[in-house]
């Protein structure tokens, strides 16, 4: 009968199995939990059998992913049951449900100890297993001597001793002092004389742990390990039960070779010779056989032997034998072997000097970069990265760049970072380096961090020969129809500095350069505008004799931005405007940037740091990293891709329109009415440390010293100031009855976001949700930035999108938990199917402490975001207008009662609604048109 005759449990499992959906399952589970809870409450009536049954149900429910927050005591109490079946359940369920720090576990220490020192072998095994799985420090201190005794006892049977070995391993990990090195090393060596292969298997794991900590103390174990390996390799005294498809326990062979890799060298010539004989036999004698299991098992041994040979740094001959084998493996059809071949080749790079032999396989490895299996592609990428040097950098990097266009999203970031690092490290010449990075920005701009383009600028600034080339390249890219914003930044910067070097080439007059850069201005974010302003100032400075038309154009732009709400932009505009009137003095003030002091590439530094990190990853750190899934946790203060700090989004101005809940049309009106004093497509200024590094000295004169980077990070306003939006006098609109009150007005935030593409969507004392959006025709890509403002985690985070019928929306996975002070980015893809004024809603909830919060937030994926304005001159306008037949193609409306508003402001407002203003017509009329993109 199922589950040793527990009928109720079988029924429950059947019920669960028959559930049609998750909701039914939850109902059934809740019912069962209620049932179990009531049963546990009147404990007097429970027999051990019943208790056992309920405890299994708890484990089952827990396995299904439901919280079981009661009944732990009952599970633990079963440990002291007198009969084996109950005791066993108690031990197993306890070790599944509880962690080592659970209080109830302490209560059980005495019972557990009694079982360990008792005479009943089966009880001993149960107790040792549980302690081995979840024993903590307290267990280590009180039980270690008993466990050691069992492990070396001659009267104890193997079935107990093998468990004692791994139990001791756990206790040693919890408190290394419990194993006294002096006394234990001899005993450990004795243990390895053991005949029983079960005891040897677990003792070998114990040895690995001990040796990895202190190999000096366990020298005497080394020859014993070699002996064991010989015994297994020669199949001497290996019982049939331990032979797996004809191979003497491959797992023990692997473990033994692993232990040997912790000893730095083998000095004793005899031991060394014996070991190499065994290894040679494995290397030569492993054939490919038909049986999959046998093949896998023998190759498991072979790969471990390869690792050991590499570790021992054998003679050149054996090494090249290894590389030859690996070269064979990376070309086989069997994907597992191919994967492992690549992986081990990468390891081989690190330990020995075989680069040249590996390079012979470069073509094959590049083929693997296009393998249909992402696991294999990743290995290939790692290997290419590892084997790259000056001699093959050009080939490899170009291969990576080529692959970048077709690479899957999951790999692009890594790919571009690696390509950038290799290009910098091994560039045969600098112009090639500039080419690579510009291509990288062109193909994968989203993944090119600011560090990367800063570095290009540094190189170009410091190398005069490179300047005309880089400027020409930048100019070429500007001709492309759609370029990434990073490309706008880097080309604007380069052309500002060096375009005068191109002046005689076609299309490179100051006016043309200005024109093509200025074309991009409406499409860029606030972090780019200051760079463009600097470029304009530089162009102006280089235009000698000055061109009055160009000068007026640029001055107009400066004066437009003099009232910009963004401080950085405003300051630059004001300063450049003033400076540019100084005539010849301008030359001195805006002179070319001085050379950057030589410094370590922050990119390479980052790469090094990452390596150190991986080497020192502790369990806690790992856990912190594991919190998120596909989404990216940015706990670092520095934005990864040059996106402005979302923390700063707290500073975003919210227009104070009176009516919070009007539709788009009304909203436009409200603003026309002049309730809005100022609208600007604004988002926060770039972090000072990012651009300050490069552009800081540009503002005023710049001795090299002033070019030193500003080290401190901008502190996000939301951290320092719990209520950055409190300037808003308006009472927040209460959209929910949660006890946690939102900061700022949700409706106003929404309205503001309808006009711009980044800002705060929602904020309360616990969380800030920022949004950054990009729109391309009928597609939109939004990123939600979920920032936990607290020092403890936010739990049960859920985000549901309720899209209206005309929008197709896909939100990437939102992690359940947001770690303290962390920010999680969740991309959201939007596709507009037809025009509609309906608005998508984000149903967002989370738990913090005892309070749970649920808000429904309108998402700014509104009609105007999908508009695509077209520039039309005044002359072209009327013929076009007349050729249109009427609604819905054209609409004419006269708006009355509009409070006067500055022309510029009004134009700005329309621009931010993505409606084009047609200049040069009668000044009081606005004509806006643009086709709506939809599929």
């Amino acid at each position: 009968m199922a589950l040793s005759g527990m009928r109720g449990l079988s029924v429950f499992i059947s019920d669960i199995r028959n559930c049609q959906n998750k909701e039914q399952e939850r109902l059934r589970v809740d019912k069962e939990l209620g049932n179990v809870r009531t049963r546990f409450k009147n404990e007097k009536g429970l027999t051990p059998y019943e208790k056992k049954k309920y405890v299994w149900k708890m484990l089952y429910i827990y396995m299904l992913g439901y919280d079981v927050d009661f009944g732990h005591m009952e599970a633990v109490s079963l440990i002291s049951a007198p009969k084996y079946p109950e005791k066993q359940v108690g031990y197993i369920v306890t070790s599944c449900l509880l962690n080592e720090n659970h209080d109830f576990l302490r209560l059980a220490i005495n019972t557990v100890r009694n079982d360990i020192i008792g005479r009943n072998e089966t009880f001993q095994c149960l107790a040792l297993t549980m302690v081995g799985n979840i024993g903590g420090r307290e267990f280590a201190e009180s039980l270690a001597p008993d466990v050691q005794k069992l492990l070396i006892s001659s009267s104890c049977r193997p079935l107990v001793r093998k468990k004692a070995a791994l139990c001791l391993l756990r206790l040693y990990r919890k408190n290394p002092d419990v194993v006294n090195v002096d006394g234990w090393s001899d005993r450990m060596a004795q243990l390895l004389d053991e005949r029983d292969l079960g005891v040897l298997t677990s003792s070998m794991s114990l040895l690995v742990a001990l040796v990895s900590n202190n190999h000096d103390a366990y020298w005497s174990c080394l020859p014993k390990c070699v002996k064991i390996l010989e015994r297994l390799a020669r199949n001497q005294d290996v019982p049939q039960e331990y032979t797996y498809y004809g191979i003497p326990t491959p797992w023990l062979q692997v473990k033994t070779m692993r232990a040997l890799q912790y000893f730095p060298t083998i000095e004793d010539p005899n031991t060394r010779r014996s070991l190499f004989e065994v290894l040679q036999r494995i290397l030569m004698g492993t054939d490919v056989v038909k049986n999959v299991n046998k093949n896998n098992a023998s190759h498991a041994v072979l790969f471990e032997a390869l690792a050991l040979v590499m570790h021992l740094d054998a003679e050149k001959e054996m090494m090249s034998q290894c590389v030859a084998l690996l070269g064979k493996f990376i070309a086989v059809r069997e994907p597992n072997i191919r994967y492992l071949g690549l992986e081990n080749m990468t390891r081989m790079l690190m330990v020995s000097d075989v680069q040249d032999i590996i390079k012979r396989h470069q073509a094959q490895i590049i083929t693997s970069l296009k393998d249909p299996d992402i696991s294999i592609r990743r290995r290939a990428l790692d290997l290419l990265y590892g084997m790259c040097d000056v001699s093959n950098a050009k080939d490899i990097v170009e291969e990576l760049l080529q692959y970048l266009s077709s690479a899957d999203f999951a790999m692009r970031e890594e790919l571009s970072l690696k390509a950038a690092i290799l290009a910098e490290k091994f560039a045969p010449d600098l112009s090639w380096y500039v080419d690579v990075i510009l291509q990288l920005i062109d193909k994968a701009g989203d993944f090119v961090s600011d560090d990367i383009w800063f570095r290009v600028v540094q190189f170009v600034t410091n190398n005069e020969d490179l300047q005309p080339y880089a400027a020409a390249k930048a100019r070429e890219y500007l001709d492309k129809p759609a370029i990434h914003e990073t490309m706008v930044k880097v080309s604007a910067y380069l052309l500002g500095e060096y375009s005068h070097l191109l002046a005689r080439r076609p299309g490179c007059s100051p006016k043309e350069i200005f024109g093509i850069i200025h074309e991009k201005l409406p499409t860029v974010s606030t972090s780019t505008v200051p760079i463009l302003l600097s470029t304009y100032a530089k162009i102006l400075m280089h235009t000698q004799p000055s061109d009055p038309e160009l000068q007026n154009q640029i001055w107009a732009i400066f004066s437009k931005y003099e009232s910009c709400i963004d401080v950085e932009i405003q300051q630059r505009a004001v300063e450049y405007f003033a400076l540019s009137r100084k005539g010849a003095a301008l030359m001195d003030i805006l002179a070319e940037m001085p050379k950057f002091p030589e410094r370590q590439s922050s990119l390479l530094k980052k790469a090094e740091d990452a390596e150190v990190d991986t080497a020192e990853q502790s369990a806690i750190k790992l856990r912190a990293q594991q919190q998120t899934s596909n989404a990216l946790v940015v706990t670092d203060q520095r934005p990864a891709n040059g996106t402005p700090h979302v923390g700063q989004l707290g500073l975003v101005m919210v227009p104070s329109s009176a009516n919070a809940d009007h539709n788009l049309e009304d909203q436009g009106l409200a603003q026309e009415n002049g309730t809005l004093s100022k609208v600007d497509p604004q988002s926060p200024s770039p972090s000072a440390d990012l651009l300050g590094d490069l552009l800081g000295p540009l503002a005023i004169e710049g001795p090299p010293g002033a070019a030193a980077p500003t080290e401190q990070h901008a502190i996000p306003a939301s951290e320092g100031d719990p209520n950055p939006a409190d300037a808003l006098a308006l009472a927040p609109v209460d959209e929910q009855t949660n006890s946690v009150q939102p900061i700022g007005n949700i409706a106003e935030r929404f309205n503001a976001l309808c006009l711009k593409d980044s800002g705060v969507l929602y904020e309360d004392p616990n969380i800030q949700i920022g949004i950054k959006a990009e729109w391309r025709a009928h597609h939109g890509r939004l990123v939600l930035f979920l920032g936990n403002k607290n020092t403890s985690s936010l739990a049960s985070v859920q985000a549901l999108i309720l899209p209206p019928s005309h929008l197709k929306m896909e939100l990437s996975l939102v992690p359940e938990t947001i770690p303290p002070r962390a920010q999680v980015q969740c991309p959201l893809e939007v596709m507009n199917l037809r025009p509609s004024r309906d608005v998508a809603v984000l149903d967002f909830s989370y738990k913090f402490g005892t309070s749970s919060v649920n808000v429904k937030l309108r998402l700014p994926a509104v009609l105007n975001k999908f508009l695509h304005p077209i520039a039309v001159t005044a002359e072209e306008f009327f013929p076009q207008w007349r050729s249109l037949s009427g609604p819905p193609l054209k609409l004419q409306e006269v708006v009355r009662g509009v409070r006067p508003m500055l022309l510029l402001e009004m134009a700005n407002l329309f621009n931010s609604l993505r409606l084009m203003v047609c200049p040069g017509l009668v000044s009081s009329y606005f004509f806006s048109h643009g086709p709506l993109s939809s599929t």
Partner: protein, 143 residues
């Protein structure tokens, strides 16, 4: 440490057995299992049996409708783990006779007992099927 967790999941993605050798909260487990299932179940026969995920490497194998997924540390010998999965399946076969998903569902406790005998604290304790099954046979006799 070696093995960090062992999961048995059917092709609908339902967990049939989960054994962790490091403590993860329920939320962490749920998220992890969801991610792994999404990643591994979508793979085809021509792809290798290893998937890198977070800091784990997942070694997996499919038997009819059931996936066996083992999370290991990055340095672990992948093929040894792959064959360890097969050893586990053969052991269950020996006990149940051609084991299937239902055997594991309705005999969860036995599946756990077997695992207990085979893995402890993430290390392999025993690879002899006879030894692994002895305690279960004793119990069956007793009841």
């Amino acid at each position: 440490m070696g093995i960090r967790f062992i999961l048995m999941v059917n092709k609908q993605g339902q967990t049939r057995l989960a054994q962790y050798y490091e403590y993860l909260t329920l939320e962490e487990r749920r998220a992890l299992e969801g991610e792994i299932v999404r990643k591994c179940l979508a793979r085809n026969e021509q792809q290798c049996s290893f998937v890198e995920h977070r800091t784990y490497k997942i070694v997996y194998r499919r038997y009819a409708s059931l996936f066996f997924l083992v999370g290991v540390d990055n340095g672990e010998n992948e093929l040894a783990i792959l064959e360890f999965i097969h050893l586990l399946v053969e052991t269950m076969d020996r006990h149940f006779g051609n084991v299937c998903e239902l055997d594991i569902m309705f005999h969860l406790e036995k599946a756990h007992f077997m695992l207990e005998e085979m893995v402890m604290n993430g290390c392999i304790v025993e690879t002899s099927k006879a030894n692994i099954l002895t305690p279960i046979q004793l119990m069956d006799k007793a009841s």
